[in-house]
Structure formats: structure tokens, C-alpha cells
């Protein structure tokens, strides 16, 4: 990309143009796993934003002292510590959601977006841009998560954030929730549709 890297592009590019999910196709596994309902998807998105931003800052701070040969291990230790903090916080203040998310909070450690950002950005940039980059990518990830979860919860359960959206009269008239929407394969198809729309709008991304 010939574009000049400024703090602004670092923060806003991942929202759409360089979105980690629909452009770089990273972090797909958690998109499949946590998007059956909107609430866990939002909590998951916030957790990833927090972990990504702070791990970027920490790695960026110590980037010159990390020996190259063990840098992945160091990154993992930082990410793992942050994930444990997030996980404990969730257990303390949002227990129900943390039960719903179960293992997937722990699996943020293996989220490809994190390692990708640490390797590609935090290891080569100063803390403030690294922080913006972490927030930007986390928000980009969260946007997709929320869109997918919105459609899956609306069509799969007829609710949003647990509130009934599709009125009972629809069900009486013969409407029925789509059970496939609750199953992970449909998340892939919804993501595919988002990519489809996204590339139709941004023609320069088409291969």
C-alpha cells in the first residue's frame, strides 16, 4: 500500500478497508463460535479490543529488548496474562456471559488477529501507534462479530440481546425460527455474504 501510514489510517483502516476478518480472513473460528447471540458477541468483541490494544502496547514497549529467536514465546506470555485478567474480570462482573463464552475467552490467545498484529505492527512501531492499531483491529473484528450475531440471533431465535423482536403473531401465522442459523455453518455463510457485499462496494479489493 502506497498510502502514508499516519495515526489516523492506523486506527481507521482496519474498520473496513483492511478489516482483519473480511479482508485478511483472520479470526474466523471465534466468529463461528460466539455469534449465535448478540450479547456474547459484543462481550467477546470488547475483550478482544482490550487484549489486542494492551498487548500491542506492552510488546511495543519492550520490542527492542525481545530476542528475535524467542519473540513468539514472549508475545504469547503477554497475551496469555492479559487474557487471564479479562477472563477473571468477566467471571467477577458478568458471570452469565462468561459461562456462555466458556472456553472462547481463553482461546483469544490463539486468535490469529493477535499474533498477526503483534508480529506485523507492534514489533516495529512505537507504543501510541501500536495502541491505535490494536484498538482499530479490535473494533474491525467487533463490527463483523456484531453484524453476524445480529442476523444469527434475529433469524435464528427471533430475539436481539434476549428481547423478542419478531412478534408472537408472526409465529401464530406460521413463521418459524431458522434452526440452521444457530448452527456454526450459517455463520460462515453470513461472513461470506458480508465479504460479498464488502467487495462489491470496494472494487479495489477484488482479486
Amino acid at each position: 500500500m502506497a498510502e502514508k501510514v499516519t495515526n489516523k489510517t492506523v486506527l481507521f483502516n482496519p474498520f473496513s478497508k483492511n478489516n482483519p476478518v473480511v479482508v485478511q480472513i483472520l479470526g474466523i473460528c471465534s466468529v463461528l463460535a460466539v455469534t449465535a447471540q448478540l450479547e456474547p458477541a459484543m462481550v467477546m468483541g470488547l475483550s478482544v479490543i482490550a487484549v489486542l490494544a494492551f498487548s500491542n502496547v506492552i510488546i511495543s514497549l519492550i520490542r527492542n529488548t525481545i530476542p528475535t529467536s524467542i519473540r513468539i514465546i514472549v508475545q504469547l506470555v503477554v497475551v496469555a496474562s492479559l487474557v487471564i485478567i479479562v477472563s477473571e474480570l468477566l467471571k467477577a462482573f458478568a458471570y452469565d456471559v462468561s459461562v456462555q463464552l466458556s472456553v472462547f475467552i481463553g482461546l483469544i490467545i490463539t486468535n490469529c488477529i493477535l499474533m498477526g498484529r503483534l508480529e506485523a505492527f507492534a514489533m516495529a512501531n512505537r507504543p501510541w501507534p501500536a495502541f491505535l492499531d490494536g484498538v482499530g483491529n479490535g473494533v474491525g473484528y467487533t463490527i463483523i462479530l456484531v453484524i453476524v450475531a445480529f442476523f444469527r440471533e434475529l433469524l435464528g431465535s427471533g430475539t436481539l440481546l434476549g428481547y423478542r423482536i419478531i412478534p408472537q403473531s408472526f409465529y401464530d401465522a406460521g413463521y418459524s425460527d431458522n434452526g440452521l442459523m444457530i448452527l456454526p455453518p450459517m455463520a460462515l455463510i453470513v461472513v461470506a455474504c458480508i465479504i460479498w457485499v464488502h467487495r462489491s462496494i470496494n472494487k479495489d479489493l477484488q482479486d
Binding site: 418459524s176 431458522n178 434452526g179
Partner: protein, 402 residues
Amino acid sequence: MSKLRKFLDRIKPAFQPGGKLSALQSVFDGFETFLYTPRTTSPASYTTHVHDSVDSKRAMTIVIIALLPCFFFGMYNTGYQHWLAAGATEFPFFSLMLYGFLAIIPKVIVTYVVGLGIEFISAQIRHEEIQEGFLVTGIILPMVCPVDVPLWMLAVATAFAVIFAKEVFGGTGYNIVNVALTARAFLFFSYPAYMSGDKVFVATSQAFGYGPAVADGFTCATPLGQIATAGGETAITGIDGSTISTWDAFVGLIPGSFGETSVICILIGAAILLATRIASWRIMLSAVAGALLMGWIANSAATPTYPASFLSPIDQLFLGGFAFAVVFMATDPVTAARTNTGKWVYGFLIGVIAVCIRTYNNGYPEGAMLAVLLMNVFAPLIDYCVVSANKRRRRARLTSKA
């Protein structure tokens, strides 16, 4: 006929580029080539291409003809089951047929309107000819669904399958999985209450106010459904409580999806497809062999944990959608394996997997749909292995001679 031809020739210019209705060019072209074989042939410079007079549209028409016996029998059977459910003792032939016709025709219309609509629109967007691939899909889909499936679900499933199983891959001839089965799988996983169980396989409502009324809360499961929910060895019963024998399953006057119950009619369809060489006998034969083998293995190790293992291998062939799936779905030339050796493997595994799912997963009383879809996905891999084995063999022959 020549009047029709003249009429088409007269209105044709309006659909050419620059004409008034050029936006509908692919629609016109689709109908014209459906009605008349195109007169254009490949130029002499393409002499390597051997052109049969039976193009894909003519082949599709033959498949439709092969489906007709099942379709008419499905109409009769729908009426027959409805009359049985209403407790009737007389079964007037024409009333049964009329009831079945009224019950199925809205579904056929809905699938065709939705499917062809999407097909026409996408052909027009791509500036391509319309491929008549949906002609067969549109009639098969209502035939493999329970007769009481709501119309809007059918429309949603058709749209989903045509868009995601076919158009995104490039349209007719490029789909990797069978479109009708994708639609059925979508229905099955999305709306399980309407696709399985004991409430849907017999039409209980009147069709446009026609036919006798049936008591509310009437239930009757398909034979395979009954077996899956029963523990241990069980007798399968029809609506009136009589036992369903192997012969009944062969004739087909049993509850089930619209077009799949009668093995006789499916065999007539198979004969038409084989005589015209549209379907592959290798796939059919090996699928039956696979099902018989797996049925025999399951039957010889029958256990009450898996009630379907008490079925004899012959019953495995006759009950449920297996026969229909093997004759009309597995042999779909687009999604099946293409090499001859590959077809043996492909068909055999469909038979084995269908009986496996049916027997060892009580949650899915019918495995034929999932077996065909799974093998659709593996067909290119099977072909790849067959082709590379052939290459290796030829290379070895060459080097040993040299």
C-alpha cells in the same frame, strides 16, 4: 408448431441488443432454446467437439419424463394417505388424484417461480444464456419434501440453494453439491419440526377446501421414523394400524415424502434414465451393492440400541428416500464422479454411508440425503485419485518398455 416458430421469429428482434426488450434477452433465449433445438452448430474449425443432438435441455426433459411416474404416484399416494387418515373406506381414484394434485401443485409453482426467477436474474446480470438446470431441481425438490411443508419455507430453501449452491459457483454445471438436496438439507436443519417427525408426512389439511376433513392432532410417522423412535425390534404400521410389509414398501402406499415412496415407479424412472444413457448404471448398481453390504453387516450385528439395525438389507433399499436418492440424485452428472472407476467408488460409498447414518444415528432416520451430499463433496477427490493412478500406471508401462 410452425406457427409458434414464426411467432418466435417475429418477436425475436425486440430482444436482440438494441431492441426494445433487450433487458429480457436471456429470458427469451431460454424459452426459445427450450422449445426448439438451436440451429447453430460449432464452426468446422472446432472439429474436435462431437455434438450430440441431445443437448443439456433435451437431457433435462428426459429426466423430467423419468420423474413423472413417481410424481403421479405421489399424487395418488398423498390422496390415499389423506383418505386413510380421514377414516374413509372407499378410495375414489379421481378424487385421490385431484386431492394430490391440489396439494402438490402450489409447491411446484413456488419452487419454479423462486428458482427460475433467481436463475433468470443472474443470467441477465452475467449476460449469459439461461441454463435449464433448474428444470429438474424445481420438480425434484417438492418431491423429496413432506407434503405438508409450508410454502414460504420451500421458497426460502429454494432461494438459499440456488444462490449458495449454484449461482455463486458459476451457475448450472458448476455446482459442487446437488441443488435440490442442498435445499432439502437447509429445510431439514432449519425447520426440523416441519421436515421430520410424525406430523408432516400425511397431508391433514384440506387442499383448497377439497377432500375429507381429518381430525386435529392426527399423527403418523414414516416407517424409518417409527423405527428410529422405537426401542428394539418393532413392527412398522401404516395409518390404519396395519403392518407395513416389504411388499407395501415396494409398491409405495406408505407415509413418506411426496415422490419417494414407490420403488416400482422409481424403477420405471431408472429404466428410462438408463435406456437413454443419461444416468450411470455404475453408480446405481454400486450404491445398491453398498447399501446391501452395509445393511447386511448392520443386520447381522443387530442391537436394540440402534433399532434400524433390525431391518433386513432389502428393507433398507425399499424404505425411505434411498431408492429415489440413488436413481435421481446420486446420478446427477454434474456432481457425481466422472471417471468410470470413480463412479463405482462414489456409488458404493453412498450406499454404505446412507445405511450407516440411518442405522447408527437415531437422530437422523434418513441418511440418503446426507450421504449423497457428502459424496458430492468427495467426488472430485475420487476422480483426482483415479486419474493420478491411471497416470502412474501409464508411466510405469512406458518406462518398463523403454
